[in-house]
């Protein structure tokens, strides 16, 4: 036992001596290079440090890079932090802390170039650092500014990487680096071929980087360059662009733009004339060119390049594009890979577009489903429906003012919004709509009056600026399938809500006593009344139900868009069109209408992505035409229920 202790003490005490070297002694060997590093000399130090395999090397390199290494007068190096006139020293080997006056120390300040070299060397230490966060940062920094030096350390760090996600990322990144920087063309081609399945933006950027072209012009196609293609002026490029290439290459004189001609003419007015052309006649391009030609003939301005000169010059030269990458095998591989990637991206975008369209369709469905009941089933046209949506959204906003917890507030807001708009709907039915049941145009106008009043009322109460309706944290973010396909959780939630509503409405209408009575009153109020159903009560409840659903839709829409007094008006026309296109009097029709409009709008937006206004315009035009051909909508009722 004693001997064991003795051995341990010996080992601990004399370990530096027994081992080849410690960090300080390696640094002392290269003391001059460490104290005053140059870009070339620093490599020797870094190599020795890397070979030593000591654990403190990465920390030291970081300090060195951050100008936190100081040298004592006796030549010893310390990591130190300044504190007034003192230094908090940390011993490089033992980590022991001490404080000393600045006077004895000099700070080591590597210049920018050296710091970059140190940084690169640091990467390989960081890539194998035991701390996952540090390794992730190192990988991210490589991804930000890839260069050839990082390839070898990155490849070396893949095998020992314990974290599966990070290892996959390292493999991907190593692939990108190999595609651009690997030593042999075969390695690069292999790496490029591996990227054919990678739809990430980064992979596409790497491939596009390899396929970078620059335009060229020469008398003949060059045979010692990797030519991407021949350009024909007028087809692949405008004649002007082609000619400016010639000018840039010094192969042709520059053209004289109209402004320069003007300036030249103005500069050479001589007694009211420019080269025998009176100034008053210089109001056409032909006369100006004639005057300019006169000046050129007299040698006072450089001659004009006429369109025929330009065409002759362009015909004499070949225009082409050259790959920056010299090896055709590599560019071919990159082209193949890019084509494959783009096919995959296109497929992904189609799916993404379909998801977008689905979520838009569910928003339209939510906005329109209440209307499908009041307008579709009861035949009452309610222009204030949009304002019920708004009311629901403001209810959500007010609830959040009182209940700061977002999840809880949404749970409270949904039924409360239903209650508020149910009440508003019933009140409106009792006071106004009841008197107008057989005058649909007047119902439209009266409800429109209510809509104006409600909108202005909301403006007076809540102001004109948008109010936030914040979604709970668990609805933030997006479900990411790949770089191309993703959908935000809030859209998924709205989709789910739309599905729930569809089921709920179908259940109420088809499976409950209320639904039975609603359908009976809709089809024949007189007969329904004689069967003991109170049509007035049913109408009131149905209208309330439709309005209440609008309120819940308002909460959902408010989560996804801002809450303003005009938000209802934004949806009202689309909602009516959803109901009309789908087919009045049928919940399935509303679903079909919402899907059609949602998919159509996204489809048109895809054709012209910069312009959502145009998409809406064309969609409305399409709907106007659609109604010409199917006036009863997609799902048309047949038989007695279809009677007007």
């Amino acid at each position: 036992m004693r001997r064991v202790f003795l051995f341990l003490a010996l080992w601990l005490g004399f370990a530096p001596a027994l081992q080849a070297q410690d960090l300080q002694s390696i640094l002392q060997i290269h003391a001059t290079e460490v104290a005053d590093p140059g870009r070339r000399t620093v490599n020797a130090v870094l190599d020795d440090l890397a070979v030593s395999g000591l654990s403190g090397v990465a920390d030291f390199l970081e300090s060195w890079q951050d100008k936190a290494v100081w040298q004592r007068a006796d030549g010893q190096f310390f990591v130190a932090a300044e504190a007034g006139n003192d230094l908090h020293l940390t011993d490089i080997v033992s980590g022991a802390q001490s404080t000393a006056s600045k006077a004895n120390f000099t700070q080591i300040k590597p210049n920018g170039g050296v710091r970059r070299v140190i940084g690169t060397a640091l990467v390989q230490f960081q890539l194998t650092d035991p701390d996952l966060a540090r390794r992730t940062t190192a990988v991210a920094s490589i991804a930000r500014s890839p260069n050839a030096d990082q390839l070898a350390p990155l490849l070396a760090s893949i095998a020992p990487e314990p974290d599966a996600d990070l290892r996959a990322r390292k493999v991907q990144l190593a692939n990108f680096l190999s595609a651009s920087f690997a030593a042999t063309p075969n390695d690069r081609i292999a790496a490029i071929d591996n990227m054919a399945q990678d739809t990430s933006v980064e992979a596409r950027a790497v491939l596009n980087q390899i396929l970078t072209v620059r335009p060229g012009v020469a008398a003949m196609l060059p045979d010692n360059e990797n030519v991407a293609g021949v350009l024909t002026p007028g087809q692949d490029m405008t004649p002007d662009a082609a000619y400016s290439l010639l000018v840039a290459a010094g192969l042709a004189p520059p053209r004289t733009p109209p402004g320069v001609i003007r300036a030249a003419l103005e500069a050479h007015i001589d007694g009211g004339r420019v080269a025998d052309v009176p100034v008053a006649q210089l109001n056409t391009n032909a006369m100006r060119e004639r005057a300019y030609a006169g000046l050129a003939a007299a040698g006072r301005v450089p001659p004009l390049v006429t369109p025929s000169d330009r065409d002759a010059a362009m015909a004499a030269f070949a225009f082409f594009e050259i790959y920056a990458e010299a090896d055709p095998a590599i560019t071919d591989a990159a082209k193949r890979a890019l084509a494959s990637v783009e096919t995959r991206v296109a497929a992904g975008q189609t799916v993404d577009l379909a998801l977008d369209a689905l979520s838009l369709a569910s928003i339209y469905f939510l906005a329109a489903i209440g209307l499908a009941i009041t307008f579709g089933v009861m035949g009452v046209i309610n222009m204030a429906h949009g304002e019920f949506i708004m009311m629901g959204a403001y209810t959500g906003y007010v609830v959040q003012l009182f209940i700061p917890d977002y999840t809880l507030s949404i749970i409270v807001a949904l039924p409360l919004a239903f209650a508020v708009t149910f009440g508003a709907g019933v009140t409106m039915e009792r006071l106004v709509i009841r008197h107008l049941y057989h005058r649909p145009l007047e119902t439209l106008l009266a409800t429109f009056g209510i809509s104006i009043a409600l909108q202005q009322l909301a403006k007076n109460i809540f102001g004109t600026q948008a109010r936030p309706l914040t979604s709970p944290a668990w609805l933030d973010g997006a479900w990411v399938f790949s770089d191309v396909i993703q959908i935000s959780y809030i859209r998924i939630a709205i989709f789910v809500l739309a599905l729930i509503f569809l089921a709920l409405i179908l259940f109420v209408l088809k499976r409950t006593r209320l639904g039975l009575e609603v359908r009976a009153v809709t089809q024949n109020p007189g007969m329904a009344a004689s069967m003991g159903i109170n049509p007035e009560r049913i109408n009131m409840l149905t209208f309330g139900l439709g309005s209440g659903i609008a309120g819940i839709a308002g909460v959902a829409i408010g989560l996804y868009a801002k809450v303003t007094s005009e938000m209802g008006a934004d949806y009202i026309v689309q909602s009516f069109m959803t109901v009309v296109v789908g087919g009045v009097g049928n919940v399935w029709g509303t679903l079909a209408g919402a899907s059609l409009i949602g998919f159509l709008q996204k489809g048109i937006e895809w054709l012209n992505p910069s312009n959502t206004l145009a998409a809406q315009t064309y969609m409305i035009l399409f709907i106007i035409l659609f109604i010409q051909f199917r006036p009863k909508g997609i799902v048309a009722l047949k038989g007695r229920a279809a009677a007007d």
């Binding site: 100034v279 008053a280 109001n283 145009l441 439209l444 104006i452 009309v580 006036p631």
Partner: protein, 385 residues
């Protein structure tokens, strides 16, 4: 003609009233005793244009039963058509003046580039879009005022009436048309300056030195004349046999069809004719307003039009005039801060905020309790035998 006025005494009364009003305004204006300011003359002139489109709306809705929520779009198109010429001609004048100072006379291309730059600079372009092809010709643009709304109404009406879209469906469809048009105009690449619209329309090219007082009075007369002519035209349309058919279509479309009338043609005629008159009204309105932008065409404007006609009284032309004049003047009095605020102690009712609430609710009240509108009051004056 004599007998027409004898059969329609209300038309004669209306024309006399309008004539007296015009004379009265002239006397009170700055050309007379100067009691009415130029800006108020403009408001009156604009109101007359609104009365004209309201009469058109009354014919299409009150007489023919088509609740069009798109007539303000035609109004706007008329305004845009005339505004394009006004803006082009005025900019051309300014550009020519500035280019004249240069030593070398400008080429046509330079002039056109400079004008384009002036007009379309706000939407980041300087090219003339195709719709401006005739903007340099006053005659062609005035033709557009009539042709574009007329053709649009003809095509739209033909499509809609042919497939028997009626009632609220037609209303929604016309509203969709208006929405599509205003959304289109809101785009910067629509060629009509996007949401900036056309501005500076109150400056009439060729009359730069004429004071605005004179110009506004001239437009006031023109609007009054247009209203008088339009009123007579519509009064003639809705009287006589054709008028009877039109009213019959409103009351029972199927029955008219079964009697052998081609209902679609009548509806199309009324729809197109009223659209053209709406375009003319717009062409007179916007030079007085000075600016037109897509927000003016938004669906809500067309609905307000229906509100005016309903409040004034449907199915009587003077009702539409009264409704439009009453509501729009009242509206500018309330929203312009003319109405005194009411202090309730705990809350001050500020009419700029509460006017729309009042309008909306009174509109509901009119629909429910006074379906004949203000014009219905005249029935108490004139007892029919």
């Amino acid at each position: 003609m004599n007998s027409f006025f004898l059969r329609n005494p209300s038309t004669l009364w209306f024309l006399m009233g309008l004539g007296l009003f015009t004379i009265g305004v002239t006397i009170l204006s700055e050309a007379g005793i100067g009691f009415l300011s130029t800006s108020f003359i403009k408001i009156l002139g604009k109101t007359l244009c609104l009365c004209l489109i309201a009469v058109a709306m009354d014919v299409v809705w009150g007489y023919c039963g088509i609740l069009s929520l798109g007539h303000f779009a035609f109004f706007g198109i008329g305004g845009y058509a005339v505004g394009m010429w006004l803006m082009y001609a005025r900019t051309e004048g300014i550009v020519l003046d500035s280019l004249a100072a240069q030593t070398i006379p400008p080429t046509p291309q330079e002039i056109s580039d400079a004008i384009g730059n002036q007009i379309f600079g706000v939407v980041g372009s300087s090219e003339f879009p195709l719709v401006w092809a005739f903007a340099d010709s006053l005659f062609l643009q005035l033709l557009m005022v009539v042709l574009v709304p007329g053709l649009l109404a003809l095509v739209f009406g033909w499509l809609a009436f042919r497939s028997r879209v009626t009632g609220v469906y037609l209303s929604i469809l016309t509203q969709a048309m208006t929405l599509a048009l205003s959304l289109y105009l809101f785009q910067n690449d629509s060629g009509l300056r996007g949401n900036n619209g056309l501005s500076g329309l109150q400056n009439i090219p060729g009359f730069e030195t004429t004071p605005q007082a004179t110009i506004s009075l001239a437009f006031f007369y023109a609007s009054a004349l247009a209203l008088a002519l339009g009123y007579v035209l519509f009064a003639w349309v809705v009287s006589g046999k054709m008028g009877s058919v039109i009213k019959a279509i409103r009351d029972n479309e199927s029955r008219v069809r079964f009697l052998g009338y081609h209902v679609e043609s009548y509806k199309l005629l009324v729809f197109t004719l009223t659209a053209i008159i709406a375009g003319i009204a717009g062409a007179l309105y916007y030079p007085q307003a000075g600016i037109i932008n897509p927000a003016e065409i938004a669906p809500i404007a067309s609905i307000y039009l229906a509100v005016w006609v309903a409040i004034g009284g449907r199915g009587r032309l003077y009702g539409a005039v009264i409704g439009a004049a009453f509501v729009s003047l009242l509206s500018s009095w309330f929203t312009g801060g003319g109405a005194p605020a009411i202090n309730l102690g705990f809350y001050t009712v500020n009419w700029t905020d509460w006017w729309l609430v009042l309008l909306g609710l009174s509109f509901v009240a009119v629909t429910l309790f006074f379906p004949k509108g203000i014009g219905g009051l005249f029935d108490y004056l004139v007892r029919k035998p």
